[in-house]
Symmetry: D5
Subunit: 137 residues, 10 copies
Amino acid sequence: MYLTRLLYVSDYNRDRPFNAAQMLKSAIAKNRANQITGALWFDGRQFIQVLEGGRHAVSETYHRIAHDERHNNIELVSCNSVTERFFPQWSMGYFGDTLTNQQTILRYSTSDKLIPNEMSPDSLLGLMMTLELKNLE
Amino acid sequence: MYLTRLLYVSDYNRDRPFNAAQMLKSAIAKNRANQITGALWFDGRQFIQVLEGGRHAVSETYHRIAHDERHNNIELVSCNSVTERFFPQWSMGYFGDTLTNQQTILRYSTSDKLIPNEMSPDSLLGLMMTLELKNLE
Amino acid sequence: MYLTRLLYVSDYNRDRPFNAAQMLKSAIAKNRANQITGALWFDGRQFIQVLEGGRHAVSETYHRIAHDERHNNIELVSCNSVTERFFPQWSMGYFGDTLTNQQTILRYSTSDKLIPNEMSPDSLLGLMMTLELKNLE
Amino acid sequence: MYLTRLLYVSDYNRDRPFNAAQMLKSAIAKNRANQITGALWFDGRQFIQVLEGGRHAVSETYHRIAHDERHNNIELVSCNSVTERFFPQWSMGYFGDTLTNQQTILRYSTSDKLIPNEMSPDSLLGLMMTLELKNLE
Amino acid sequence: MYLTRLLYVSDYNRDRPFNAAQMLKSAIAKNRANQITGALWFDGRQFIQVLEGGRHAVSETYHRIAHDERHNNIELVSCNSVTERFFPQWSMGYFGDTLTNQQTILRYSTSDKLIPNEMSPDSLLGLMMTLELKNLE
Amino acid sequence: MYLTRLLYVSDYNRDRPFNAAQMLKSAIAKNRANQITGALWFDGRQFIQVLEGGRHAVSETYHRIAHDERHNNIELVSCNSVTERFFPQWSMGYFGDTLTNQQTILRYSTSDKLIPNEMSPDSLLGLMMTLELKNLE
Amino acid sequence: MYLTRLLYVSDYNRDRPFNAAQMLKSAIAKNRANQITGALWFDGRQFIQVLEGGRHAVSETYHRIAHDERHNNIELVSCNSVTERFFPQWSMGYFGDTLTNQQTILRYSTSDKLIPNEMSPDSLLGLMMTLELKNLE
Amino acid sequence: MYLTRLLYVSDYNRDRPFNAAQMLKSAIAKNRANQITGALWFDGRQFIQVLEGGRHAVSETYHRIAHDERHNNIELVSCNSVTERFFPQWSMGYFGDTLTNQQTILRYSTSDKLIPNEMSPDSLLGLMMTLELKNLE
Amino acid sequence: MYLTRLLYVSDYNRDRPFNAAQMLKSAIAKNRANQITGALWFDGRQFIQVLEGGRHAVSETYHRIAHDERHNNIELVSCNSVTERFFPQWSMGYFGDTLTNQQTILRYSTSDKLIPNEMSPDSLLGLMMTLELKNLE
Amino acid sequence: MYLTRLLYVSDYNRDRPFNAAQMLKSAIAKNRANQITGALWFDGRQFIQVLEGGRHAVSETYHRIAHDERHNNIELVSCNSVTERFFPQWSMGYFGDTLTNQQTILRYSTSDKLIPNEMSPDSLLGLMMTLELKNLE
Ligand SMILES: Cc1cc2nc3c(=O)[nH]c(=O)nc-3n(C[C@H](O)[C@H](O)[C@H](O)COP(=O)(O)O)c2cc1C
Ligand SMILES: Cc1cc2nc3c(=O)[nH]c(=O)nc-3n(C[C@H](O)[C@H](O)[C@H](O)COP(=O)(O)O)c2cc1C
Ligand SMILES: Cc1cc2nc3c(=O)[nH]c(=O)nc-3n(C[C@H](O)[C@H](O)[C@H](O)COP(=O)(O)O)c2cc1C
Ligand SMILES: Cc1cc2nc3c(=O)[nH]c(=O)nc-3n(C[C@H](O)[C@H](O)[C@H](O)COP(=O)(O)O)c2cc1C
Ligand SMILES: Cc1cc2nc3c(=O)[nH]c(=O)nc-3n(C[C@H](O)[C@H](O)[C@H](O)COP(=O)(O)O)c2cc1C
Ligand SMILES: Cc1cc2nc3c(=O)[nH]c(=O)nc-3n(C[C@H](O)[C@H](O)[C@H](O)COP(=O)(O)O)c2cc1C
Ligand SMILES: Cc1cc2nc3c(=O)[nH]c(=O)nc-3n(C[C@H](O)[C@H](O)[C@H](O)COP(=O)(O)O)c2cc1C
Ligand SMILES: Cc1cc2nc3c(=O)[nH]c(=O)nc-3n(C[C@H](O)[C@H](O)[C@H](O)COP(=O)(O)O)c2cc1C
Ligand SMILES: Cc1cc2nc3c(=O)[nH]c(=O)nc-3n(C[C@H](O)[C@H](O)[C@H](O)COP(=O)(O)O)c2cc1C
Ligand SMILES: Cc1cc2nc3c(=O)[nH]c(=O)nc-3n(C[C@H](O)[C@H](O)[C@H](O)COP(=O)(O)O)c2cc1C
């Protein structure tokens, strides 16, 4: 019903085995089934994720993710009804810790060592959308 | 008098014979006579239609359409006085369920299986105008 | 789902028997069942009606009303999703052609003989809300 | 850090024993410890809850609540950074299904049988703030 | 159709006999017939007049007035479609050159000797509405 | 003094001989003398005219035009003080009933048979400015 | 023509004899003749003056004042066309260095020793209007 | 301190000898010393001048100019604190009565015979900035 | 010159002797000399201070305060040019950790244990102004 | 936490030895460590500096700079929380007194001899951003 965009941030849980490619593959499959789109930042330490979709699907997906023990210190940053998706072309886009991506971090954050749970909702969404633009070029 | 734009959504009634091309041809003829312009989405299951024209002509046309038994579960989404038409070049433009059109759906809706009566007025008009732009290119 | 407000205007059809009190009583009963609120102006010649409620209920009620032969020349003036109702306390408020009400007409219209289908959406809603205020005092 | 307001809706899970007074007492204790304020609607069938506080505390509390099996079909409606709390005086205010409260429902929703997961973020927050006002009077 | 407000200014033509009370009486009668409302300033030298009503009635009345030889140097200052009338209670209100009225002039004009055709549309409408307020008190 | 833009609409009076080219030539001459600019639509049945210039010159010219028996049913649509002219390059531009021009009509009006006195001020000015743009190309 | 408001600041010239009451009396007489209104601050060291009236009268008066050798270091702070006067009741209001007035200074300035030529246009007009309000009470 | 922009208009005083080139040369020298920038219109009859610079320098320069007997009927049109200059590249730009410049006049004024003291502040600044743009091309 | 408002937050340095009343008395004396106004929150652990005054005085005072070893972890939160002071009546208002004041904290912060350097500029200024209002009542 | 932008101005202290290149090299090293970005103007007499980064890092850096005896008369101009940095690519950009840079000064200031502590926050930030643009070209 209500098209919804949610953004959260979290810390990678070093105590759990984690395979980014594999997790992404399974997430993309699930998201496709749930009509979720979005993008994920992972730099080996931190996650930033945008989820877009129906209010129910976004909630259900987020609740699953929020209890995934592969990350912790999860902070829900923002969630709102929106008119259109910002990441419609990606079941889950992925921004790794490449040089190009790193240069964008400092523009939106207080440090080039990303500490997402200290960033404002506007800076976090600005960062994710600038990364999308750079990666679509 | 008052230039008016109306948008409604509905479900195709599988119990009635329906020939899209023929219906469109007759609708275009009637709309031309009534000075109605607009666009129609039909994907075999659902309709989204924008009607633009005089307040009286739009009302009269809509009332006829609303009692057409070839569709049901009709929901009037929005109706307003406007300064100019958004679809002046089409007596009734048509967006079928092509690949190009399908890619635009997800941008404005919670699912790639269009459920128009769960979409907001802004998302529905945004969808129809993006489809127009893509099809005019 | 989408809380919706609709306003239409129409002419009383003199060829049909019409009993305002009776029609209102039955409308109020139906509206209560459909969770519709609103207000109706009737001065012996013209109707102005506001319907508020769920998008589906408002559409269904409007389609019924639009085919009621007790009025004709029905013009749909405006229909929009809204955050709150303006007439929550009335299953269907009624403004008859009293002196008090008549004085308000001229403020919003080009004539003290109301010709609603020549009035703008803003003037019509302004009129109905001013009448509500006066009648709640 | 970031003062945050979150609103979610859910259905009461009839399969679980539930004691509103007891739950509230324990929630208030926990919220006081976590510096959470807010308000809860419960009418025997549905919940609407606003949580206000630090981003981390709101997230942590919400994650706990979202996995509480006493309700289900939980939908996160909105979450945002804000300048000030709207319910600072309540560790968790409570609106039961009283007559006074019921009259406010219809103003913001499509039905007097509250179906919160069909309501827009603005209507839901409007409802909760109007209830607060009425109950502070 | 289009509710319209027009404001013009003119000079009294000293070469013609002029009886304000009589003219006003006849104007009020005609305006009542034409559903025109408004207000007139006359100080023995200058006229400022606001006409409100249907676009056609305002035009027709204005064209008649514009060719009335009892005044000349007529300047049409502003004419616009509006949502509601500002002078609904007066078929033609009248502001003479009383002390109370004179004090309001200087607030909106460059001189206490009113020279309306040197005044801006906003100042002229502000003057007429302030005079209305003072005279309704 | 006050730079002013006026727009009116009228019907061609079939009972009077009318030569568009000749009228235009004389109007342009007079307008040049009066520093009036603007544009005129004439399609054999209807006139739409924009006049720009000093408040006094626009009024005087309009009063003359309003009493010209070659047209009737004249409606003054809008008149306002403005910062700059929109048609500075034309003493009186002319839009005839060409194919190109006709296609623009439907965008701003309820019918391709122009009925200007049923059009809103915004639609009429939008139409005249779009025609100007097309004709300057 | 153009109703204009001007604000300037200056230093009292100690080398010239100066009698505030006498100057004010003569200024008020001249302003009444020129249809100027406004207010003057004088604290024995500094002047702040607002002049309101016709563009020509304000200019002419200001030019005279600007060459008056009883003050110097004159800075023109702001001058603009306006819809209405802010000091219509005073041919020239006067704010001396009373206790009441002094308390208002600090609110708008960097020091309780007024240095007007270091103050912004907004702070200076805010100061003069707050003084007017206090002195009208 | 406060970066200030001032615009005034005046009439050439035919009783005084006047050499535009010489005056401009000396004005440019003085302005350069006073850090004044701006532009001057002179067409043999009228002046329009914009002065930009520090509040004190603009005031002092304006006071000198206002007492220069080579022009009279000087009207101060506008004076305000601004964030940046609009004519930074010119110690005093000059727009003479060339054909190119003349065509711009009618766009902003009621007549191609410039009567600046009948023009609004917005029209005058619009004129000067359009002339600058045309002359920088 | 530029009237300026600055807000900073800091931690009380427990290693230094500190006497609030004495510090305040001396601060008030210095501020009066420097024409500084403002307000200070001190609850035994944290400081929030607003300084208002001339840009130079505020800077100079702030630099002194920033090197005062009685507090540390000083964070400059905001500094801006403003039109008027918000605390003109206090050379340095003081809000201690009273019950009344404490209730206001939670409204603007994530915890009733004030952690000012985690609060946004808007929340901090909102808190200080609400405290002022409560203490002026 | 809070991404912050600060701008201050100061005078070069001629009594201290100063080596711009060396200072800059050390500043850049420190800023890189503190994740500070920004830009510095130095023309041999005056400094303007923008610092961007975390609120704590900006404060700590600014406090150090504010006590550096190589400059004095330091005025803090503005400090605010922001969504993104304006100088992300420079640990400390440098604008010397080149011809190109000098031409930009007059656009934002009252004199080509920069007196930054007499400039408004908007003019100073406008100047620094225009210099950045010119130097990135
Ligand atoms: C950082 C992160 C991001 C994830 N993103 C998604 C996602 O976008 N969609 C999704 O379905 N699961 C995502 N997952 C996986 C879920 O947390 C969960 O493991 C998965 O949905 C399977 O859930 P289930 O085991 O309850 O079926 C993500 C996990 C992590 C750690
Ligand atoms: C999805 C749909 C869209 C339609 N669009 C139009 C239309 O744009 N204009 C129109 O005149 N009729 C349209 N029609 C046909 C009308 O519903 C109706 O059949 C037609 O106007 C003939 O009406 P009548 O049988 O009452 O003369 C549409 C029908 C359907 C099912
Ligand atoms: C002016 C007018 C207003 C009406 N308003 C309502 C209304 O608010 N609600 C409603 O249910 N029916 C209303 N009705 C009656 C309907 O048109 C219709 O007669 C009624 O819903 C019964 O429909 P049915 O015969 O299809 O069951 C109105 C009728 C008229 C003429
Ligand atoms: C509708 C509803 C609202 C609740 N509200 C709160 C609340 O505001 N704060 C809270 O701490 N727990 C709340 N709870 C209880 C939590 O879900 C959970 O039971 C509680 O925090 C204990 O969590 P734990 O068992 O993981 O310690 C709520 C539960 C329900 C069903
Ligand atoms: C200053 C002034 C104001 C007038 N106001 C009105 C008016 O409001 N309504 C009106 O019908 N006639 C008004 N008139 C009178 C008309 O100009 C005209 O004389 C009258 O409408 C009779 O027109 P007729 O002789 O063409 O029938 C006014 C005349 C003057 C001089
Ligand atoms: C549709 C129409 C447009 C006209 N436009 C103008 C015009 O722009 N300027 C003008 O001076 N006269 C215009 N005229 C002519 C005037 O109505 C009038 O005939 C002309 O100004 C001569 O007026 P006079 O006979 O009073 O001198 C127009 C006439 C018509 C019918
Ligand atoms: C601070 C100050 C304020 C003045 N205000 C006014 C004023 O408001 N109106 C006015 O006509 N003269 C005012 N004057 C007096 C004029 O400067 C001038 O002396 C007076 O207009 C006589 O001018 P004249 O000698 O050229 O005739 C003021 C003078 C001073 C020093
Ligand atoms: C239309 C006009 C524009 C002028 N513009 C300037 C100018 O921009 N800057 C300037 O210093 N003088 C300008 N002057 C000259 C001054 O009015 C004055 O003659 C000159 O500053 C010398 O002043 P002084 O004789 O008092 O030294 C202008 C004069 C006129 C008539
Ligand atoms: C929390 C706090 C607030 C202060 N507020 C002020 C103040 O408002 N004004 C002031 O002049 N000094 C204030 N001071 C004192 C200054 O830090 C400093 O001790 C004082 O200005 C004396 O400075 P000096 O020793 O350099 O002369 C404050 C100190 C602290 C710790
Ligand atoms: C104009 C000016 C700009 C400066 N900019 C910076 C800067 O951006 N970052 C920085 O760390 N130090 C900057 N410094 C140097 C500091 O003032 C200080 O000398 C330096 O941080 C070393 O501090 P410390 O001696 O306390 O370690 C600047 C100094 C001056 C005079």
